[in-house]
Assembly symmetry: C2
Homo-oligomer: 342 residues x 2
Amino acid sequence: MSVLILKTQKLNIKKIAELAGVSKATVSRVLNNYSYISDELREKVLKVIAETGYERNQIARMLASNRSNMIGLVIPTGAKFVFSDPYFPKLTEGISRAANQYQLILSLFLFDSHQNGIQTVRNIITNGLFDGLLITGDRIDDQILPLLINSEMPYVLMGRSIQYVDNINYIDVDNYQGGQIATEYLIERGYKRIGIVTCSYNIAAVDRFNGYKQALTDHGISFDPELVAYGDFSMESGGEGIKALIARQPDAVFVVSDTMALGALRVLREHNIRVPEDMAIVGFDDLPPAVQADPQLTTVRQPTTEQGRLAVETLLDLLESPGRPARQIVLPTELVVRASTI
Amino acid sequence: MSVLILKTQKLNIKKIAELAGVSKATVSRVLNNYSYISDELREKVLKVIAETGYERNQIARMLASNRSNMIGLVIPTGAKFVFSDPYFPKLTEGISRAANQYQLILSLFLFDSHQNGIQTVRNIITNGLFDGLLITGDRIDDQILPLLINSEMPYVLMGRSIQYVDNINYIDVDNYQGGQIATEYLIERGYKRIGIVTCSYNIAAVDRFNGYKQALTDHGISFDPELVAYGDFSMESGGEGIKALIARQPDAVFVVSDTMALGALRVLREHNIRVPEDMAIVGFDDLPPAVQADPQLTTVRQPTTEQGRLAVETLLDLLESPGRPARQIVLPTELVVRASTI
DNA sequence: CTGAAAGCGCTTACAG
DNA sequence: CTGAAAGCGCTTACAG
């Protein structure tokens, strides 16, 4: 039983080499699928490995090869939002799947405070543990991305940056277009006074806001600053936002995040305003079970899982060819209309 | 500028030692807060470190000290459920916070298939990378936990095991009690024909089911197998479950997971059965935004974040004292009644 | 309190 | 195709 062997003796490459009657180098070459090895020695080594259940010590391998096959997922957004917004679990799903596929170990870095995050990222950059980093970018005044830009650490941004545009690898969602199609959907249904609940410091929210303005202009509706409310992506703030708007009597509202849209829906229900009969709401994000269960909400869907997968693949590509020009991908969004609202 | 130095030369302990005019051993001791060092040398070393921005190579440290300060979070549940059930994000939140607090690096292991998971866990156990593992246990026929039990790898189970009880460290939620209070809540409100949507192979679901039976017995209501439906924790199955039950005309239903409860709610709405006026539903899990937004659902709340934190602390404790007797903690649950249902 | 040296378990030019 | 040996960057008895 290999289990017993594992318990009674520590296996290392030296022991395997002895058992197989070859050098450590040969064992290492077999393990690394090195091409020029005689079938005879390869067989011997593989046999011993199979019998003993030997598994390489990854740490020693990392030290010797200067490669860890570990990547970090850095989410500077406060933990509070990470776990209430369906975006992050979806993104993590895509990343995790791709990491499995490419045999990468994925470590998770979440922060309670921004200061905490800056220090941690500094460490990550210099401690030599990670081959590369995946980082989400959503705040306009992000302090963490610059650390990465000024370092040698390979990274891919999920989202985009306002200040830094050139020569950084990122996978973004076309939020501008998303804001447009959400707004156009409402316009096409005949609504004229279309309010918006957005967020002033979130890049995606700002992009969606700009798409909203563009759609209004394109359809000859003048933008009315009175119909704008600001939230912080929390459900509560979505509720507050729509409360503020109700006084201005919009006939439809585009809420730029699903979490805020849920808060808005709750407030509407408390006021007995039925949606979409009395007021149309369009939310924006992935579909959490909550929304799927609620046929009264139209949403814009973004390909978040895909975004995660592409980020991993881009990072891997960057590790292979360190000097290559930056790749920037912007993924389209899609309107999701429930059957019952058609 | 330390940044420039970092870019132009690789710093290592040898270089720091030279710069400070001491031995590598002394630098290492300063870095490790070793007690018996003269203030003079300590100052010198710290000065050089501050000036250069030197950061230890973690991999070399791991290899030499045989400790990585890395822990793995293993979630054998299929990725599909991980990201639709609010339980896992909540749990991850608690774990992540505690990992930060104790300076542990947290790696995430999710699997698409069970087979895939078994192989990965085998690797993790033998590759020497992780100090310990946190693993969720929910399936009755879990194949992965035995791998851990038969290994030297320290681990803490979040949930519990049916087959293995003795000498394993676990942090569970008192699902039996949760099932009881959910059912008693319905009984106290005067309902008699109380159905249940549960799951046959999930340990927590089975425990809740048993609590439900106990509550019925305690209140002189005989258990009726006709009022039981089975799902798989997906929203769809919750809907299917309640559809099957409706034919048996229950006057209330306890759905053992929130995700399934949401599916059930959706079906009820399609049939224009209002809750709780016409039928009371009690769900069980953490509160996702969805549920918070829905005042028509009573739920049982479990202290999931706390569960995550305790798991990390227990694992840490286990790393300090390898031989110590197993610690088993069972956390109580709590009924959450929305204002509007009172 | 401090340093020289061995060792952690691998990989990888180098020489053959 | 194969092996002896150096090296990755630390830690930690050991001796003083």
